[in-house]
Symmetry: D2
Subunit: 248 residues, 4 copies
């Protein structure tokens, strides 16, 4: 999402107060941090992966970035390492990153900090940020993050809210993590899912919202089309359209 | 994979010594543990999610299971909790589960323990197993698993092996976790990817193996079709065919 | 396209003079004629096909129409049969239908007649219109349409134009028919393709525009992204966006 | 199908008497005729379309053929033109081609002639064969084929058979043509559909077999999974598996 230019829309939605909890991949947050630290993503519809490799570019379909961005993230963590030591879970750890970024910085991490929107990242170790943390830990600087504690917090949020509405973009661990918190609290009242994955292979990413009713991830009385809908479209096309239609 | 009946093929491949490291989702391991504890997955091409909900069945496309399986997992962890206390990372934690299962049990967790194949699960908290661990922790029984330590171990394995060959089934966090370990060690020499995801939306799951060359996840001199190949097919169809063609 | 509500956009593009030749399926023209004759398409995201069958509704994913529309088309052809007798090819036959519709009628068939935009329908017999023609012919009222003559006309158009630009929406026979006319004349200079089909299965519908270069369907010096582009998206989403961005 | 190597399986199924009527694209028959006349299809997973163009190769994803094959087809029609003059419909025309091929020739056209299996090709003009016919007609050698007459014949076959079972491979005009003949006769009792197209875009190719119940293309009492099934898979993978499982 971030490499494909969706950052500003996410920020816009957060500023408008429409997101209470954000669950995302480590990759999205890594690319957000990369831009927050002054680096960029580029676009090209032609590529040669060997040439990119030799020149130090990393490709994500038709987007790429300089491999040296990792140095910037490493430097950021090296400099601020002590501040992260007492992070209890990923929500706390990510909040601390947001706090360290300059005020007004156009990043998801910063805007969530400013707007007090908790970010959960259940697969945090599986990302550039995770790699940099690992880089510190091998030099003896341990960071204890209890990933099970995230589950506790998000279930509490789901339990205590009057109604729950979910927006799933693209599936994966974030979708499943949200669904688990709903299954073990009280189910979503509303839902929007944007994905190009199919239901037939049986994976969580392509599973229809309707399927969630059997699990209790979606309320049994939620009505298709009225309360929830599956959108079969690339999210970089569908999300701007959806946001444009509701923002005013 | 496990709910769709792929467990025995995975076990077969492990028994044949063809898998040195397994990285998988918490969901796969949860469903494997469910069957290891005597519960079952069922198949039906017709369903009504409200009826399934009322009767206590959880649906995964055309497969379903009884919701009460969670009780079995909970009981398992409750009974054996003390044995897990000193788990350092997910690999260690999962090995302990395998050790506790009866000898010869037809499960991935058990066979990996017997064959000394390490299992990594970077998104462990995002699963039924994760939920049961969380269930114990809220009653004060903390379990400290360092997810960043997994990264250290798998990078060491990738560094010290003579050659690396990868098989990605379906993408997600496991694919990205393996790719990271290769990017920060020495790249894969060979690769097979089985997925129905498309490259255009730009996500990691649908990314071609060729793209990995730019990152160093795949060796720059690896040749398409000769050294690596992207297979566009449901893995429950392609994996048995591939295995059948090489097993003898 | 027409059942999904794309008719007015197509009409808008034709009125703006942006389409010189239209090649389409018999289904699109049948649904266009159905609306031209006063019948409607309806939308619903819930359905029961047996109930629809009993009530006389025909479903196209989340769109449906009354089965009795066929009576209207039949009546139209019965009444005007003599006027179609001397149709030489599908272009001529379809022009005659457009001529018979009232002036200003909001239909593709009528607007093409008014704007002198030729319509070719190589698979005409495979449609509701084709069925009604067949219905007349079995009562001895033969209609001779030379489908090979269409090929002659469209190749002439492709040859005599200064430059050729193509827009393929969804593949099938219309795409292939246009590509043949370019292969046997002088290739397209520009191209846009909107489809959700994949290239891997090898069919014409999912084939990339780039592939056309080998055949001469696309000019060898046409540049990807600059001169031609493959858009992976449902056309009912992509086409309105594309048109909105160029119409002003 | 033919360029991808499926010809022999189709022939095998026809020889086993399992196909009573074949409806296919002009492309499939053209590639079948190309091989019948001694030319070949080649395979490569690497390509450069400009180089292929310069060297005279036409690419179909990872399959290609020499452009000069068109000369062979042209020659075939030039030599035998008079024999085709009295073809009434595509079934008759294609039967005549089969008759002209040498006995025992490994082609779909020949085996259908030998086994008296009618072939219908509603989009015949949209193919290499169509192009060659067009090439003759521009030199004044007209060929009158009544495409509406095909509809009459296939509806008669559907009406007079005791039960109808359909196998749709990949959608397009052939699928729709078969479905029309069922809609206007008595519906299919059994069905198998193999396609990678999705239902959501609303096209005929991706439409589920169940949808056909509303139209009367499938019998209202046909049961999903028991009487009909949608297979989401590349047909070059699924068809050999299906045939292997039933042939003995």
């Amino acid at each position: 999402m971030v490499p494909a230019g969706m950052k500003e829309i996410i920020i816009d939605i957060i500023k408008a107060g429409k997101i209470s909890v954000l669950v995302t991949t480590g990759a999205n947050l890594t690319h957000d941090l990369i831009e927050a630290l002054g680096e960029s993503h580029y676009h090209s519809d032609s590529w040669n992966d060997k040439v990119f490799h030799d020149k130090g570019f990393d490709r994500m379909y038709n987007v790429f970035m300089k491999n040296q961005v990792y140095g910037k993230i490493e430097e950021f963590f090296e400099k601020n390492w002590e501040k992260f030591r007492n992070s209890g879970n990923t929500r706390d750890f990510l909040e601390k990153i947001g706090e360290l970024l300059p005020e007004g910085n156009k990043s998801i991490l910063r805007i969530c900090y400013e707007k007090k929107v908790p970010i959960f990242c259940p697969g945090i170790s599986d990302s550039g940020i995770g790699l940099m943390v690992w880089g510190r830990t091998i030099s003896g600087k341990k960071l204890e993050i209890d990933v099970f504690d995230d589950m506790k917090e998000i279930i509490n949020i789901a339990w205590s809210s009057k109604k729950n509405g979910v927006i799933y973009i693209g599936g994966g661990v974030p979708k499943n993590f949200i669904q688990q918190s709903l299954q073990f609290s009280k189910g979503a009242n509303y839902g929007i899912q944007i994905t190009t994955d199919r239901p037939e292979p049986g994976g969580s990413s392509g599973a229809s919202l309707e399927e969630g009713i059997s699990w209790g991830k979606m309320k049994p009385d939620a009505k298709k089309e009225e309360d929830y809908i599956d959108v079969f479209c690339d999210a970089t096309i569908a999300l701007p359209l959806l946001w444009a239609s509701v923002k005013n």
